[in-house]
Symmetry: C2
Subunit: 417 residues, 2 copies
Amino acid sequence: MDVKAYMQKLGQQAREASRQLMVATTRQKNTALLNIATALEEQAETLKTENAKDLEQGKANGLDAAMLDRLALTDKVINGMATGLRQIAALNDPIGEISDMNYLPSGIQVGKMRVPLGVVGIIYESRPNVTIDAAALCLKSGNAALLRGGSEAAYSNRALAKCIQSALHESGLLPTAVQVVETTDRAAVGEMIAMPEYVDVIIPRGGKGLIERISEGAKVPVIKHLDGICHVYIDDDADADKATRVAFNAKTHRYGVCNAMETLLIADSRAAEILPGLVELYEEKGVELRGCEQTRAICDMKAATEEDWATEYLAPILSIKVVDDVDEAIDHITQYSSGHTESIITENLTTSRQFLARVDSSSVMVNASTRFADGFEYGLGAEIGISTDKFHARGPVGLEGLTSQKYIVLGDGTIRE
Amino acid sequence: MDVKAYMQKLGQQAREASRQLMVATTRQKNTALLNIATALEEQAETLKTENAKDLEQGKANGLDAAMLDRLALTDKVINGMATGLRQIAALNDPIGEISDMNYLPSGIQVGKMRVPLGVVGIIYESRPNVTIDAAALCLKSGNAALLRGGSEAAYSNRALAKCIQSALHESGLLPTAVQVVETTDRAAVGEMIAMPEYVDVIIPRGGKGLIERISEGAKVPVIKHLDGICHVYIDDDADADKATRVAFNAKTHRYGVCNAMETLLIADSRAAEILPGLVELYEEKGVELRGCEQTRAICDMKAATEEDWATEYLAPILSIKVVDDVDEAIDHITQYSSGHTESIITENLTTSRQFLARVDSSSVMVNASTRFADGFEYGLGAEIGISTDKFHARGPVGLEGLTSQKYIVLGDGTIRE
């Protein structure tokens, strides 16, 4: 069978399964999730054996230590997946939720009902645990899933798929509710993102290159997240302790994450007071600093270039710029931010309201670390990704982002006059 | 200037205006809307003079009576536009609405703030009143608008744009907040739908051909509506009077609209009782009927073909099919519906709950006419279109469909541990 025919077949099966899943009961979906968790624990040895084949091949292909680490299915990773499944089973079922039912003058009662999107296609790279994570979120939200993992994790993903499908079968759901694309042919991705009749949304998880390629070619909506060039702005009316605490945490809590601060902006009036202590903390922690001219007049550091303001370091590097006021801070953010997360440190109510209204990012914060921009921290209970788009889902995407709302109308033989 | 450069310039200007509009006060936006209404009334003679040029050219180009009718700016149409503007001014401002603010264990308080999408591109055909309607909805929701009307309405749209822009200027807003594309070069549409840096969403309003062409080529999200193949299903447990009333209204209230019923499904157990009276009503009204074999065994009519089930007549034609039960009705709907609107007539609670859950259309109704699927009837106060997609907006799209929600986070120097 050629790749196109193969993908069409998976798509048809997914569409069919989605019709069943759409009306699966909460208990059925939760039972399936718990059964998958048990299957992973029972099959831990098989999973590790299959994973060892991927690891071996990865080493032979010269994957670096970080990639091999992401690829490994250790006991800890397996237990983590099982725990994640049980957490998702414990979340409220978003499907069928009815809201805003109101009577209208004509006599009809109109409201909205939350429903699944249908079929979700997820394209990801080396981490095999995404297979479980994505399958669980799709199942809970009543969506069929079509999963395309990296070829370097092919053995692992196939073994995980077996666990999922036997658990689905046991729970009385169609095993095709979650399908792993088994060909490593790259053309499969091209087919998957161009079958609007079978796939309702694509979620790419991985590097910027992957996401750009997919967005470029997709014929269906894409929930995507590109850069996270996040800013903290220390305002004229900042509390110095809060400013130092948040600016330090936003940069150093973790480096390789999209919600880490990449540029610190600070009001001219507070720079000489706050920067020296903060710079000392960063330097103790080994963060490389790059400053604007005014910053460098206060603390000695490397000069920041135009390129720095537009860079997502994902590393212990921070650029620092002194600005006149909140207006200049917002102008800088408007120009350079990727629209992910920005935070202002201020005690001034009016300034904070301005910052909240005027900064056009998916998360806008006051006196809080950008590191909070995360589905779990926001109480969503799960996260399928962080969207820097404005359409449909924006910011951390949980189960709700995998759903839509249809209108429901109740009448009593009501007609339009 | 070539078309590409021209459209890029409009796009840049729209983006710039959108930054101002994003934070315009409710009063500013409402003043602008009311000023446009006044300008239209004051400039009524000019508008009619310019419109006459379009009408004359239309006649010379052989436009039919229906098209010329849609094109005409009569006093009634002008007053209708002014009334529409005042109604939109009276609606609540959706922008800035904060919802779901909750404290989380970390100490942060997280909620959502409603914000504009940014720049909305609207592509439409002959009706010049769409220019005002679309401009008003975009303004109220804080979005800059880029409007591309039909070339047959070029004089009218230019005159309307002048009214809008002088009113914007008077209200202290940038006149570029609403721009009418002035070239009639078709390449302008191609450019407009492929500038994601300047346009956030495209809304095509017009025939199916236009909408398909635009969806095909767009590099930005499209809020679109294709067919409306709507069904009414008369269930075993239907009240016969309600069934007759709704089925008659859904077909005959208006014919050329997307929410008119195109196929009537009726349970076998009720067909012989209900169909004869209903058929008489339809025939009195001059509706052409096409039935399945079972229907024709009860009432004499033309035979329906496979093609009938998949056709949006937009005309006084109705296809009728007898089904075994609600399952067969839902199967038929799943196969042939365009996902717009379906209604069940039943007194049975369990059957109605099943129908609501299992029918995957943008509006699902119980004991109500499909004709209610409309933004005004749903109490949205306005309608920019009806979306048959699942992503972002589904069903009638009002002001909310032109907005997005960002996360806002308030802390007290809160950091992630």
